[in-house]
């Protein structure tokens, strides 16, 4: 152990650090853009190392995640078989409806839904604590990415771009307590908000407690979501309950995407 004399020098240094931190905290809390240049420079500096380290350790972290998931495989398999049976039944109906829809749109002169312009990105970092839940991707401002763009994968919506440096970006995931996105129930078209929580659970909020919501109902993004295109899959209703003295139902949502296993994502640019 290094011998350390108990002199006031240490207290003075600590006091200086505390004062600097308080000033920095105050400035960054009042104006989040105050340190954006330093943030962008640091992000760009660390991006190559960050990417290499993350990719190096990813097989190990996935190995541990897979062990945890192994114990849920039976239940998951049963659920998937049930779901598959339902989907097979719906498949032929959907083809007929699609043909009918296309011909009706053609008759009315309406355009078919436009495809979105997307860009693929690699996940190079993951950060989670009680107050935030984010991933870092390897595409930034130089690739035309800007704040507010929606990020998806083949399973559905992942989150929103909240910070952009020239070569990487930070994406706020749906389970982040600050996350709030307009959403709809696919079956009843009811509007609400998809919000994260400190427990890392996702809730579909602002649905009055009398409304009929069923477990398994699918949620999609609404057309009122700003930069986020409508009708992107989000997840399904996991459970519903009511809270005393609240006019709204508590609806927990299970997202389709597994945030801890993200490798590649798509950023919706248009």
């Amino acid at each position: 152990m290094a011998p350390e004399k108990r002199n006031p020098r240490n207290i003075i240094i600590l006091s200086v650090i505390i004062v600097i931190c308080i000033i920095v905290i105050t400035v960054s809390f009042k104006d989040s853009g105050a340190f954006s240049k330093i943030r962008i420079l640091t992000f760009d500096f660390f991006e190559p190392v960050q990417e290499k380290t993350y990719l190096f350790f990813r097989p190990v972290s996935h190995f541990f995640l897979n062990i945890r998931e192994y114990f849920n495989l039976n239940a998951e398999n049963r659920d998937l078989m049930e779901e598959n049976a339902g989907l097979i039944k719906d498949y032929s109906d959907n083809i007929n409806l699609r043909v009918e829809n296309d011909s009706l749109r053609h008759l009315l002169g309406m355009q078919l839904r436009q495809d979105h312009e997307t860009m693929a990105a690699k996940v190079i970092g993951y950060f989670e604590d009680k107050w935030q839940s984010e991933v870092i991707i390897n595409k930034g401002g130089s690739s035309g990415i800007s704040e507010g763009m929606a990020v998806v994968n083949d399973e559905g919506l992942i989150g929103i771009v909240i910070f952009v440096s020239s070569s990487s970006s930070r994406v706020r995931l749906l389970d982040d307590p600050q996350s709030s996105i307009g959403a709809r129930l696919l079956s009843s078209r009811k509007l609400g908000m998809i919000e994260g929580s400190p427990e890392k659970k996702i809730y579909f909020n602002y649905i009055t407690r009398g409304e009929e919501i069923f477990k398994g109902d699918i949620l999609i993004t609404s057309e009122l979501g700003g930069n986020i295109p409508a009708e992107i899959l989000i997840g399904r209703v996991k459970s519903t309950s009511v809270r005393d003295n609240s006019a709204y139902a508590v609806i927990e949502v299970e997202p389709f995407a597994d945030y801890k296993k993200l490798e590649y994502v798509l950023i919706i640019k248009s």
Binding site: I13, I17, I18, T53, V60, S61, Y126, W131, P177
Partner: protein, 172 residues
């Protein structure tokens, strides 16, 4: 030679920050993980002294805040305070060095969690008390386990009087 160990410790600290982002963020039990950076800062304080601990803690915290934090400066403040506390508690000379180190990691981790939650609460970020309780139970245990790997690394090359808390036998 002393400066060499300080530079080596600094490199280990930067590697710990990268490791935290690349690996430990994914390796969590009920969303509670290991704070390898805090353990490294406690170790640096023990082996290099309070001043280096505070300076390295401030640097590491700033870097983490810039790379991931919502409010810049919170982690820097907490890690510097952690190093200061570690410096004070390390003055407790228990019978075995390992016990002092273990106690140090447990106390500083607990206080770090409490300070962090308090500061975030003041800035309007809520957190469930159940989760906080669970974090205060699990996180120190994880950090204490990591201490057994990280402290010998930080102590690498230095002359040691003890090994795992036991005094080396004097050579005849």
């Amino acid at each position: 030679m002393k400066i060499f160990f300080k530079v080596l410790n600094f490199i280990i600290l930067v590697l710990c920050i990268l490791l935290q982002f690349a690996f430990f963020e994914n390796f969590k039990l009920v969303n509670i993980g290991i704070d390898i950076v805090l353990v490294a800062i406690i170790g640096i304080t023990i082996f290099n002294g309070e001043i280096y601990g505070m300076a390295y803690g401030f640097f590491a915290g700033m870097l983490i805040d810039i790379l991931s934090g919502r409010i810049i400066g919170i982690s820097a403040l907490l890690y510097a305070l952690g190093a200061f506390l570690a410096g004070r508690v390390s003055g407790l000379e228990l019978k075995k060095k390992i016990l002092t180190d273990l106690l140090l990691v447990l106390i500083v981790t607990e206080l770090n969690i409490l300070f962090k939650s308090g500061v975030y609460y003041l800035f309007g970020f809520s957190a469930s008390s159940a989760k906080l309780g669970l974090e205060m139970l699990i996180n120190p245990v994880f950090n204490a386990a990591l201490m057994f790997i990280l402290f010998p690394l930080l102590d690498l090359g230095r002359e040691r009087k003890e090994e795992l808390g036991f005094i080396f036998k004097k050579k005849a």
